[in-house]
Amino acid sequence: MSDTTASQGWFTSLANPTRFLALSGRVLPYLAAAAVITSVIGLYMSFTAPEDYQQGITVRIMFIHVPAAWLAMMCYSVMAVASIGTLVWRHPLADVAAKSALPIGAAFTFLSLLTGSLWGRPMWGTWWVWDARLTSVFVLLLMYLGLMALHKAMDDPARAARPAAVLTLVGFINIPIIKFSVDWWNTLHQPASVIRLDGPTIHASMLYPLLVMAIAYTLIFFTLHFMAMRNEIWRRRVAAMRRQAAQSIGGETRP
């Protein structure tokens, strides 16, 4: 995914949190506006797209289901890149990026499972099956939640950074498993139809709304991610200031 290489760019250029705050503050309004506009266009396109001859109206669920699943994986990839940043360059902002992406990734994973379930019920006749694709995405959700628990378990964010980064990278093996599960195993879930070596097998009338929705989701992700990162930086700043306040009170250093 191209976004992950781009993300590596920010971490090196926006070396210090203050500069990140200033820059993200300027970018955020445009990003949010772009997210809203693309979402509106995407929603319009997905409701005007023709119905599928097999699946009828339920095919419209695809336009919010598939991008959610993509974003769930992309978010994890962003976290994996950030984790490399934490481990290799020990960049404080990398940890902030990885940590604040967690709830967003969990939300997208949850959405892909939920909308998939709502799509599966009328199509397959069941809310849930334990097939490879569904199960591996469920495992992804568990990993998001586990990482959130790990961050929550440490009261000092600096101490959680490295263990969380290691765990994130170990868990990254799940991402290719999710992607190729439909090809490697015979499953109920349909095989990939957009991102394929021999080009998409999906009709253009459905492909375009899907792509627009994917762009909208990506913009929503980065908007939320920037906001969450800013919050996290402020949170750490507050913690640092409190520690400092504690040091200066009580006159232990006074004669």
């Binding site: 009261d155 306040a245 006159g251």
Partner: protein
């Protein structure tokens, strides 16, 4: 109000730590327990607090009318550890103990006043875990102030405190005594309290008999 200990004997495992420890304290008096490591100072204090059963002997706290009162409700115990939660704010910690140990008899200081009394004004909103070891100990002392109880049982109260805080602590105990309280403290360091009684635990561990030099 007075506190009377009669022929207390403390035992750890097979060895007797101390034998026949007797003393009595009146309002406004303090007892300092000294002795080498392992002499049983902590054991004695925990025994007085009712946290350990006495091998033999009694410790009775009685009110001004001479009727015995439960030690658990009329004594503060400050052990080696501070009894505070790292993840909660200082004000939440003190507020909890104020609520939890509340007695009808007497009101203690307000939380803010207690924090001021240990000269840490401004830390109320900070999580307890952010404080240095010395500051944490001072907040632990503030707990004794938010609920008013006549007898203070203090085990190494000045551990982790610098000299200035030592003096602060001594002043707190003096105030407490002046208001008619009592204090029993185990410590290696001089507390800077004038007119205190002292009890020396010799720390000779013997299976058969121990030796105690009584307070002067």
């Amino acid at each position: 109000m007075q506190a009377v200990a009669t022929k207390l004997t403390g035992r750890r495992g097979d060895s007797l730590l101390f034998e026949d420890v007797s003393f009595s304290l009146q309002r406004g008096q303090a007892l300092v327990v000294t002795g080498p490591n392992g002499a049983g100072k902590s054991t004695l204090l925990r025994m007085l607090a009712g946290l350990l059963p006495a091998e033999s002997g009694t410790f009775v706290l009685s009110g001004d009318d001479g009727v015995a009162v439960p030690v658990a409700e009329f004594a503060h115990y400050l052990g080696h550890r501070n009894a505070m939660k790292r993840e909660l704010r200082v004000s939440e910690n003190l507020g909890f103990w104020k609520d939890f140990q509340r007695s009808e008899a007497a009101e203690g200081l307000s939380i803010d006043a207690a924090i001021e009394a240990v000269e840490l004004g401004g830390v109320a909103h900070l999580p307890f875990g952010y404080l240095s070891a010395g500051q944490q100990r001072r907040i632990a002392l503030a707990r004794l102030l938010v609920v008013s109880r006549p007898l203070w049982l203090l085990d190494e109260p000045t551990a982790a405190l610098d000299r200035r805080s030592d003096q602060l602590f001594a002043a707190l105990v003096r105030d407490h005594l002046a208001q008619g309280g009592m204090a029993i403290a185990a410590t290696h360091q001089p507390l800077g309290l004038d007119d205190t009684r002292s009890l020396v635990l010799a720390g000779r561990h013997r299976a058969a008999s121990g030796s105690v030099e009584s307070w002067s």
